[in-house]
């Protein structure tokens, strides 16, 4: 192996090992430690410095205490469930708005499409935080939506959307919409419209032709879009923290509070480890979907 090649591989490799893999191992180690009222707030149970005896001691004292605590306290199980539920439902709503949106762009006149796509991508480059903030201006109790509805006389009292789970759904749909639209658009754009005509010639109604051709062939894009929304939504912190109420339970928020407010590092680390385990399934499914698409394109 030439020196240049070795250098090319080892520099990014070492960087990722040191700043991605090792930090994880530390999280894993601390999740197995005990909480202590000190600085840092845990007693290490694994002393690598002490060699083999340290590892043996660690092994005998290993009790997964934090993980047991997570399963015993209903709060955490509820938080995982409610994160899964919120992420899944929000993904469904995003699909409901995103599919017609992508379909509309794919069927727009050819010369409009680049500009329409640009209008989808533009918010993605704008700060995430600012978009959440802009949404607060719309849905808060004295926000634009309530002002408008009261002005036209549709309601007499402001709708309470802010600080509820509904606000979290709206927030996820609003911020992750481009992630849903772009992959669906990519599959719809490649779709051959003569297939639709063929289906209709063969006696399909317009709706059944749409269902069996358009929807069926755009499935890879729909699956990719759903996972691209679901995965980040599951561990979301900013949206539940700014838009949700005190009763909105999401695991990203729980982890943050365990760490910053309760200073319980071992428990926060255990929450992180379980969140990762929950995420492995959708991540593997997403990768398999992408691989299948790549093979089909060959």
């Amino acid at each position: 192996m030439s020196l240049a090649r070795r250098l090319l591989i080892s520099v990014p490799y070492t960087w990722l090992l040191a700043l991605f893999l090792v930090p994880f191992l530390i999280v894993l180690k601390i999740s197995l430690s005990d909480y202590a009222n000190s600085i840092p707030p845990y007693t290490p149970t694994l002393e690598v410095g002490e060699g083999w005896s340290g590892i043996k001691e660690f092994w005998s004292a290993l009790d997964f205490e934090n993980f047991v605590f997570l399963t015993e306290d209903a709060l955490y199980i509820k938080a995982y469930w409610s994160s899964l539920k919120i992420a899944a439902l929000a993904t469904f709503f995003t699909l409901l708005i995103g599919f017609p949106f992508a379909y509309g762009i794919a069927n727009a006149p050819q010369e409009w499409r680049p500009s329409l796509l640009m209008l989808i991508i533009l918010p993605f480059w704008t700060s995430f935080l600012i978009r959440i903030y802009a949404l607060i201006g719309i849905i808060s109790n004295d926000g634009f939506l309530n002002q408008f509805l009261m002005w036209i006389g549709a309601i007499s009292d402001p709708l309470v959307i802010m600080n509820t789970n509904l606000a979290v759904y709206i927030g996820i749909v609003y911020t992750y919409l481009p992630f849903m639209v772009l992959p669906i658009y990519a599959t719809l754009e490649k779709l051959d419209s003569s297939l639709l005509e063929a289906a209709q010639d063969l006696g399909c109604t317009r709706i059944s032709a749409f269902w069996s051709v358009t929807v069926h062939l755009s499935k890879p894009g729909v699956i990719a879009g759903c996972f691209l929304v679901f995965i980040p939504a599951l561990g979301e912190f900013v949206i539940p923290s700014l838009l949700g109420g005190s009763r909105t339970l999401m695991i990203g928020k729980v982890l943050w509070e365990e760490f910053f407010s309760n200073r319980d590092w071992p428990l926060a680390s255990a929450v992180a480890v379980i969140l990762l385990l929950v995420l492995i399934i959708p991540i593997v499914l997403l990768q398999r979907n992408e691989q299948m698409q790549r093979e089909q394109n060959k």
């Binding site: 090319l8 490799y13 379909y103 509309g104 069927n107 991508i121 480059w125 599951l234």
Partner: protein, 270 residues
């Protein structure tokens, strides 16, 4: 050309209204005279003036830009190297782990990345501040850069590079005069992506910043928690404006570059 159906027109209108109305309202209310964010009290630019006097925001903006520039530059170098490893290096020991470490940060929840990096910095006894945010940002953005660059490299004709080597170029010269110009647009968009990711990041910066450094998102987050304020509206308007101009300029220049390339190809054919 078939006429767009009413269904398409409606879904596009609803979609774009949903995406853009909140931002348009925000921009309009940044020019509101009144401190009340929902009542229009006349046109004024006074909140921009107050923003410019606000030391805390200016300091945070400076830290954010500094972190963005340094971290995205490191990320671009490392990410481009990683892209070469992924596309060109062939088999080597630990390749699977390497590509896993490139793709995993893309789907990792920010709270976990932030927590793990903070625990690392504490474990090695590093003082938290600008440098730790830079390290954290460079790490996750290099993965985005390497994905962008490697997808460009996958369509790259390697024989061009071989020709340069056959004609007596050193590997470095061949890289500089053949490979780099071809992948340059991808490297540039990778840098831009890394830069915006860094400017935008709240969660990882909050974990790794420590008390000594505050970035703009951290500052915005803590004031948004207290409610909507016209100063934040003004600040957001400035950021939205800059991003819009940046994206428009980038897309126009890349369109020009593609047209130029096409013209060149046409000339070469004749």
């Amino acid at each position: 050309m078939k006429k767009p159906s009413w269904f398409n027109v409606v879904s596009l209108t609803v979609g774009f209204a949903f995406l853009y109305i909140p931002m348009i309202v925000l921009v309009i209310f940044s020019f509101n005279e009144s401190k009340l964010v929902s009542v229009w009290g006349g046109f004024s630019t006074k909140w921009y003036g107050e923003l410019m006097q606000n030391r805390a925001f200016l300091d945070a903006a400076w830290v954010t830009l500094k972190v963005g520039f340094i971290s995205s530059t490191i990320a671009t170098v490392l990410g481009t190297m990683a892209a070469f490893v992924l596309v060109r290096a062939g088999r080597f020991r630990g390749r699977t782990l390497f590509s896993g470490m490139i793709y995993a940060p893309l789907v990792m929840p920010e709270v976990i990345t932030g927590l793990s990096l903070l625990l690392l910095f504490i474990a090695v006894g590093m003082d938290r501040g600008v440098s730790t945010i830079v390290l954290a940002h460079a790490t996750f953005s290099m993965c985005y850069v390497s994905v962008v660059v490697s997808s460009r490299m996958a369509t790259f004709d390697e024989s061009l590079e071989e020709a340069a080597l056959d004609l007596g170029c050193s590997p470095w010269d061949a890289f500089r005069s053949v490979t780099l110009p071809i992948i340059a647009p991808a490297v540039a968009s990778g840098w831009l992506l890394a830069f915006t990711l860094s400017l935008d990041d709240l969660v990882i910066a909050s974990f790794t910043a420590g008390p000594s450094a505050t970035t703009l998102p951290i500052k915005i987050y803590s004031s948004v928690r207290l409610g909507v304020s016209p100063e934040i509206n003004a600040l957001s308007t400035i950021i939205i404006g800059l991003v819009t101009i940046g994206v428009l300029v980038a897309s126009i220049t890349s369109k020009r570059a593609i047209q130029k390339q096409k013209r060149g190809e046409l000339l070469a054919e004749h």
